[in-house]
């Protein structure tokens, strides 16, 4: 009996290690690539070095300053602007989604108004953005929102609104009504109850929702591809411009930028692990 339990444990660990290895492999490869000088970017099969032989920060220097002693090619546009653009639009989009979503979620959770809202926001998630972006592009060109920080933020806000709404609704549903009712009897107005009592109670949940929505906005590629041209391109769009016919694939530089792009969502994602299931299933499942 003991023997069997031991072997089954061994099997479990072996399988998990394989899975963990596969999960890590691409990430590890990109990380090492980010520190490799360009002589180590390409190699012949069977003679490949996983760790950089001469680790260097040249790739990071290159994407931030546009030039480095290591490479003869210079790049006119550095990554600074796209990183700022990604930050600004993701943050503003998150603010729009969380504010509109939280207010709407509380109203639907407590007063049963706006019954069209839950289904309306859910539908938003269904459609491939590309299938519904033509009118937005026409509209954006018409009002001059193309390639602007506010135009992109606004779309991010609406695209992630469903997640903010559903997450906050499940959290509000869990707050016991008795506390609110007691305050109402004391003569508090509904809004004061919401602002002073309910909202502070869901503070932690609100923070998690914000991080979750931020990850989603930060991860976007297709919307930025459609709605930005030059000034406000975000990291993923800029990343693809790092290779051209003239320069070839800038493997190391792209990997360095990719690494920078990957850090915030992974850190935040691990921080809000507890609520991931709830967020990703629109509150249908709670862990």
């Amino acid at each position: 009996m003991m023997q069997r339990a031991f072997t089954s444990h061994l099997w479990r660990y072996a399988l998990i290690l394989v899975a963990v290895g596969i999960a890590l492999l691409p990430v590890v490869w990109m990380t090492t690539m980010a520190f490799k000088p360009h002589t180590e970017w390409v190699s012949t099969p069977g003679d490949l070095h996983w760790l950089p032989r001469e680790p260097t920060f040249a790739n990071f220097e290159y994407i931030f300053t546009g030039e480095t002693d290591a490479y003869s090619i210079t790049h006119e546009r550095t990554a600074t602007r796209p990183i700022i653009s990604s930050l600004v639009t993701a943050l503003l989009g998150t603010a729009i989604a969380v504010i509109a979503g939280t207010l709407g979620a509380y109203a639907v959770s407590r007063f049963m108004v706006g019954r069209n809202l839950p289904l309306g926001v859910l539908q938003l998630r269904l459609f491939p953005p590309l299938a519904v972006m033509i009118p937005v592009m026409i509209m954006w060109a018409f009002i001059g929102a193309m390639d602007s920080w506010w135009g992109l933020s606004l779309i991010y806000g609406i695209v992630t609104l469903p997640f903010a709404f559903w997450l906050m609704k499940t959290f509000f549903d869990e707050v016991p009504r008795e506390i609110e009712e007691a305050a109402l009897v004391e003569g508090c107005s509904w809004f004061r109850v919401f602002w002073k009592i309910t909202l502070p109670m869901v503070k932690a949940a609100l923070a998690s929702t914000t991080l979750f929505v931020f990850i989603l906005n930060w991860s976007d590629y297709v919307i930025a591809l459609l709605l930005t041209r030059k000034e406000w391109v975000t990291i993923p769009v800029y990343m693809n411009s790092l290779s051209s016919a003239m320069t070839g694939q800038m493997y190391g530089a792209k990997a360095a930028l990719g690494l920078i792009a990957v850090v915030p969502p992974v850190v935040f994602g691990i921080a809000i692990q507890k609520y991931l299931v709830r967020g990703l299933t629109f509150g249908a499942l709670k862990q």
Binding site: V20, M30, L126, V132, P135, M139, W190, P236
Partner: protein, 306 residues
């Protein structure tokens, strides 16, 4: 009759839903009407006329008629469904297997769990770039194969139409198996422990316990996971576009890539509008079916004796 407090609450509720309602109206409802309008014309961004004058080139159902003769569109729909049909079941089975491995307590569980979730938090476009590097002919995948086989392997993964498709599928499976795992594990944890103990006492082995107790309880969770993944997988774009750009040729062109090409290369926006609406309607039918499935499973779950 509403009490004063209730009517005060209702009024506040209306104000509170206002931001969300406005966003829905201006960025969802209005554009949809506009899309419908444009889709009945030949209008394009280079016409020189503003979009509201599109009626000048009205063609009624001309665009919609074209959809049925558009072999490129149907090709991309077919490829998208091939990706969904291969990826979603594999992700489901792998996710289920992982969830079973993680169902019991063991040393290091938390750390391994966090690592397993990492792929789905990677920015999809960056994940696409990771796999673009891995599948280069001089990349690590060929290197690993070379070392295992002992001969020099130089497979052009992304230049061959079949292999490019397989590469894209592998990347999608890598990124989204963790989502299946996460959802399914959450469902597995919900199975009451005393029931499992009772079954063990009655002599049920691990397989019977899983098949008879865990699986029926997980039905709803499984349906939710499958519906969500199917919907998301139909939208597949970022990973695929960064890896192959839809190529070689049209080998990995999904619905989204096809629409992007129509939008930027062909500039036939009125036709894109029609295609978009067509796909929207098809997906809505799908989604309604999925919702019905989910609700039915939920109801059955609720009536089940605890």
């Amino acid at each position: 009759m509403l009490t004063p407090l209730e009517s005060q609450g209702r009024k506040l509720g209306l104000y509170m839903t206002l931001p969300a309602q406005l966003l829905l109206l201006f960025i969802v409802a209005f554009p949809l009407v506009m899309q419908l309008y444009v889709s009945f014309t030949w209008w394009g961004p280079l016409d020189g006329t503003p979009w509201y004058m599109a009626y000048e080139s009205a063609n009624l159902f001309g665009n919609y008629g074209d959809i049925f003769d558009d072999s490129k569109l149907w090709g991309s729909i077919g490829r998208t469904f091939l990706i969904v049909a291969v990826c979603v079941p594999i992700e489901f089975l792998l996710g289920l297997g992982l969830a079973i491995l993680f169902a019991e307590k063991f040393v290091g569980k938390r750390v391994f769990y966090s690592i397993m979730l990492m792929p789905m938090m990677i920015v999809p476009a960056v994940a696409g770039y990771m796999f673009f590097m891995l599948f280069q002919s001089t990349g690590p995948i060929n290197d690993l194969l070379s070392r295992i086989s002992g001969t020099e392997v130089e497979i052009l993964w992304l230049a061959d139409s079949t292999l490019a498709m397989i590469s894209v599928m592998i990347a999608d499976i890598w990124q989204w198996t963790p989502l299946m795992f996460l959802i399914l594990l959450a469902g597995m944890v919900g199975v009451p422990e005393d029931q499992m103990k009772a079954a063990t006492l009655l002599g049920a082995n691990a397989w019977q316990r899983f098949w008879r107790i865990v699986l029926p309880r997980m039905k709803m969770v499984m349906i939710i996971a499958l519906v969500i993944r199917t919907i998301e997988c139909i939208k597949i774009f970022d990973i695929l576009y960064v890896m192959t750009g839809g190529g070689p040729g049209v080998a990995t062109k999904s619905i989204s890539v096809y629409i992007l090409d129509l939008t930027f290369k062909d500039l036939e926006w009125a036709y894109v509008a029609a295609v978009g609406l067509f796909i929207l309607i098809c997906l809505s039918v799908f989604a309604v079916l999925g919702l019905i499935l989910m609700q039915r499973a939920q109801r059955r779950n609720e009536t089940m004796p605890a």
